[in-house]
Amino acid sequence: MTGESRTMNMIQAINSAIDVAMGRDEKIVVLGEDVGYFGGVFKATEGLQKKYGKTRVFDTPISECGIIGVAVGMATYGLRPVPEIQFADYIYPALDQLVSEAARLRYRSAGEYTAPITVRTPFGGGIFGGQTHSQSPEGIFTHVAGLKTVIPSNPYDAKGLLIAAIEDNDPVIFFEPKRIYNGPFDGHYDRPVQPWSKFAESAVPDGHYTVPLGKARVVREGNDVTVLAYGTMVHVAHSVIQETGVDAELVDLRTLVPLDIETVVESVKKTGRCMVVHEATKTSGFGAELSALVQEHCFHWLEAPVQRVTGWDTPYPHSLEWAYFPGPVRLTEAFKRVMQD
């Protein structure tokens, strides 16, 4: 069924996911800025227009509101649109269509109409993108009833999660950590990027498979502290765990809504300590939700306050990007704090 595996980076895995899904279901259409003939600014949709035609893969006007509004209308017709928002930083003009329309259509029509759309959008920093090409707005969407939020951290998961998202009958926001499109990032920006081909997660089946939404992955087992992360920060945290030698259990959440609460709770009850890591700003970030859930479910098992390691509450800076980014220095200090008490 899944066929042979090939070495893929995340872009190739995402491209393969869309390709496989489109081949199986003619109702799937791809739309977005530059996604057609050119194949997308990150090349995630390369070759798809040629293969499936212009009425299934097409460029759009530069109007995120229009892209998502049109996608909702196409879904109402019976198609399954996979719109791309070129950078997550550009998604705000589409907020009304996502928050008030796509997210609530099933509820407000009592199931008469639904919006099975998967919005793909590259997010996160570490690429010198400044404040308009680096943001992590996942917390805006996890706050909305009716949206699912998915964030892969490697090629294998990216393909499996994206196919699962496209086949899901609810609207999904699929954030792609663009810093790790070509290779995982250990947080040391001054070192050369290691390509995905050097890592096991780059072995991706050619055919169809899914990684279920709502299931986290324990990347590394440990006994002293649980680290909850997603996207790029999974790799940064993993690297710091190895460098510091702390016996941490690293959980890659993969889906933020619906959250795999069982895996989180089981791990924290085992370790008694918890650290939440994300690149997004701190206040009202998804880490606040995680911290609250851990406290609600594991209060009597906690030996120290939950530590949040996040981006600062500032816009994403350009030249001071690495002072903003929650990298090895900040994670190392946070490990000291969480292990102290």
Binding site: P61, S63, V70, P93, R106, E112, T114, D170, L259, I261
Partner: protein, 419 residues
Amino acid sequence: MTGRNLPPLSLHVPEPAFRPGDTVDFADFEMPVAGAVRRPPIDASPRDVRDMAYAMVRVLDDEGRAQGPWDPRLAPETLLKILRSMALTRAFDERLYRAQRQGKTSFYMKCTGEEATSVGAAHALDYDDMCFPSYRQQGLLIARDWPIVDMINQIYSNRADRLKGRQMPIMYSVRQANFFSISGNLTTQYPQAVGWAMASAARGDTRIAAAWCGEGSTAEGDFHSALTFAAVYRAPVILNVINNQWAISSFSGFAGAEATTFAARAIGYGIAGLRVDGNDALAVYAATQWAADRARNNHGPTLIEHFTYRAEGHSTSDDPSKYRSAEEGGKWPLGDPIARLKKHVIGLGIWDEERHAAMDLEVAELVKAAQKEAEKNGILQDGLKQSFDSMFEDVFEEMPWHLKEQSAQMHDERKAAGI
């Protein structure tokens, strides 16, 4: 800047012609002559119909006679069906408005004076064409013969409300009648209608889409995104702007009406724009038919401005006498859509005062009976509501753990409180 001798800048803030207490005089209104506007071929290039955006298509003249090339020459039964749908819509509005005043529901919105803009359009569309309405298109459902008892159940959020009491009154959703779920956020349905039409075209279907919004919400970004997409992909869609002059308390000048027409918005996008007398059911029918034929033959979208007047308040939540002259409605130069069509069919010899009075009575009784039927399933306030569990359903296709947990918590808390 030195060396310049200019007066200081001044900001223009629009002001309507008449405010409360003002004597209303529409003498400056240039009444377009019925039948005078040309009817271009349906494959006309948008560039060749630009004049239509500044003219006004009218079929019925002051004597109720149908004039000119836009006369749709409808069969007597169609004319009488349109008349009855408009009368039923008005009777429905009057009774449900009263129901809100009697405390049977929380909110209501009438479309009085604007009935032709929905009813006329609905008759010119095919039943399986998809409608993306705003909140004042109850006439579409009524024209499509959707049971009014179902509409009242929704207005009451009662046990029989198919929408499980989740939406404010009048925010209908009727998939079976090809009527999209109404949103309270304005003009979000515009790009959705364009997307639906694009999908229909991409799939080689024959169905087209139609959307409605008010003139006030043409200022929303969604409107302009929708027009861009409609033009770019030549989507088979009809984009209706109901220019009823008022957006709650803001007159059409706050949407740009002082400088141009709403139909003329189409010109900049390269879309055909028509401006029609929205109180003339035959003009609305004819314009919709033209746009539908155009769309169905792959000639692309049409924007239709329906020039009309909101004869009542925005909703049950505002008092129009606080912001506009009470005389405006009575002096509206384009008259009342029902009275005008009535005059027409009487003039044709297929209708008379007696039958009209009987019809008014019949539709009023019909609404009354439907209301009584709906009230068997409860009104908003009487406790005959949806099950508490239904609050957590349909957020997602399958209920995730956190909603199950919250649902259980709600039950536990209510139990502990003894309710």
